[in-house]
């Protein structure tokens, strides 16, 4: 019994340190192993560059890679904002009108389940390149926002709905004062997924566009470097994409925490 007590009483600070330090230690270990394997095995950089070479490539090629990162991030951000607006907007529209929901929801699902890699080349035929890339980012990212918001808008406490009815609330008041705040945790959950997905959408579209012979985003750099057997730059670009994805995730988690910390169970640290 004293054993379990000791375990329970491990301080939250120590726990948090472990949660940060352990992944970093794993990363360091991985990088060192990688470098060792490359050096000991004398593997040529066009087969597998070591982390040191990848990192120095990242710095020496920053002019190209930084510009490409900016292009990809811009697309991702635009796609994300459109997905957020479109997802929440459509969900609200569906919530207000059953007829519209019945008419359109199946097509939202179809858009979601059709692989975006297959849609991208078609979009590139009909749309200007930038618009096509953006459309791909949007298609991939909007559905989780739509699905989560729809669920959230329906998850309102029935008694609160009654209360609003009792006091003669208008549809508009019910939407703004009740449904949207109640749906907020769900919307934020959807946005967290959409952030990562809009990056994926942008990358997929850039690769499709790249093979069509245009583009300057990070994904295009990867394809281009592949053709030129510039493997270190491929890794450097991939590293940037990963970091971008991680930053997006943390940024959205932070926003979510700020908005929910006072009231939602998910954001509250329990005292045990």
């Amino acid at each position: 019994m004293s054993k379990t007590r000791a375990k329970d009483e491990r301080s939250p600070v120590a726990d948090r340190m472990l949660r940060v330090l352990l992944p970093i230690a794993m990363l360091a270990l991985g990088v060192v192993l990688w470098e060792l394997v490359v050096r000991v095995g004398d593997i040529p950089p066009y087969v597998l560059p070591g982390p040191h070479l990848v990192f120095s490539t990242l710095i020496s090629d920053w002019a190209v890679l930084g510009a490409s990162l900016f292009v990809t991030l811009t697309t991702t951000l635009e796609g994300f904002l459109l997905a957020a607006a479109g997802g929440v907007g459509l969900a609200v529209l569906f919530n207000q009108s059953r007829l519209i929901e019945y008419s359109l929801y199946p097509y939202a699902v179809i858009l979601q389940v059709t692989p975006v890699v297959a849609i991208a080349p078609l979009l590139l035929i009909y749309l200007p390149q930038q618009a096509a890339v953006l459309a791909c980012a949007w298609i991939v990212a909007f559905f989780p926002v739509l699905a989560n918001t729809t669920l959230g808008l329906r998850s309102v406490d029935h008694n609160l709905t009654d209360l609003f009815r009792l006091y003669g609330a208008t549809r508009r008041q019910v939407l703004w004062e009740l449904k949207l705040p109640a749906a907020l945790p769900y919307i934020l959950g959807g946005l967290k997924i959409a952030g990562g997905l809009s990056l994926i959408g942008a990358v997929v579209a850039e690769i499709a566009a790249g093979s069509a012979g245009a583009g300057s985003g990070l994904a295009y750099r990867i394809v281009e470097s592949g053709y030129r057997l510039n493997i270190p730059r491929m890794f450097a670009a991939l590293l940037l994409l990963s970091v971008a994805g991680i930053m997006i995730f943390f940024a959205l988690s932070f926003v979510s925490h700020l908005l929910l910390r006072r009231w939602h169970e998910s954001a509250i640290v329990r005292e045990v």
Partner: protein
């Protein structure tokens, strides 16, 4: 068994032979007659699922009767827009994303009375003893404090009629007794009409002037009992022989009410 003497004053609201059948075929109420008189504290007492909550929702206009009528006093009907009534649910039913003050302000906000709201919100919070918690969030409050917030919200529009649906059922006994006392004090100082739904014999006797005992589903009135003990009622009343006597009467009525339906 003392039966409540009919008073001369017209009822605030009267349910006449009200029936309610839900879409799934459940008959919740059958020929329910109920008069609520101005200023009285009346309890609807019955076993769980006897339709007392349904009756309360019908009075509130949250549910439509499938047969019978609901009649309002002339003066009440005039202000029937959002009717001048307050409703306290079994759960506190607070918006978790809003502060205590914002929760209490809600009815005024929905009615477009925002500008004059602050003073009324403060007054309502003071009445339930929550002045210091205006900026707290519901999750930071105890169960009793949440229920007080809910009562403050029901009082903020200064309704003449207060409908309460087993508001204290989920609270511990000490909190419940305290809120019972506070509710009686509010009722006496504000002069409201209260319709109180409960399944507790002890609670109904302690609080009410009149107890309407309902039968098992489909609910109808089985008996009306007057509790003539004078107010203010306090812990002395709760431990008195009178109180025990009333409780026995009411318990017997409740038992017969349950049997009455079983034989049908």
């Amino acid at each position: 068994m003392p039966v409540y003497p009919s008073k001369s004053s017209a009822p605030v609201v009267a349910l006449n032979s009200v029936g309610k059948t839900f879409a799934n075929g459940v008959v919740a109420l059958a020929r329910l007659d109920l008069d609520v008189r101005p200023g009285e504290f009346v309890s609807l007492l019955g076993p769980s699922g006897c339709g007392k909550s349904t009756a309360l929702r019908i009075i509130a206009g949250l549910s439509e009767p499938t047969s019978g009528t609901v009649e309002w006093l002339e003066a009440e009907a005039a202000s029937a827009g959002p009717r001048r009534l307050g409703f306290v649910f079994q759960e506190p039913t607070l918006m978790p994303w809003a502060t205590v003050a914002a929760n209490v302000r809600l009815p005024l906000k929905l009615a477009g009375l925002e500008p004059s709201a602050q003073a009324r919100v403060d007054a309502a919070l003071a009445r339930v003893g929550l002045s210091g918690f205006a900026q707290s969030y519901p999750r930071e409050l105890s169960g009793g404090m949440k229920m007080r917030t809910s009562i403050a919200r029901a009082l903020v529009t200064e309704p003449k009629l207060l409908l309460m649906d087993e508001p204290f059922a989920a609270l511990d006994e000490i909190t419940r007794f305290r809120l019972n006392n506070d509710l009686l004090a509010l009722w006496r100082s504000l002069g409201k009409t209260v319709v109180f739904v409960t399944h507790s014999v002890f609670e109904s006797v302690y609080l009410s002037q009149r107890i309407v005992v309902m039968t098992r589903r489909p609910g109808r009135v089985f008996a009306e009992l007057a509790i003539d003990a004078p107010y203010p009622r306090d812990e002395r009343f709760r431990t008195s022989a009178d109180y025990v006597g009333y409780c026995r009467h009411v318990s017997e009525a409740l038992a017969s009410a349950s049997d009455a339906t079983d034989q049908r």
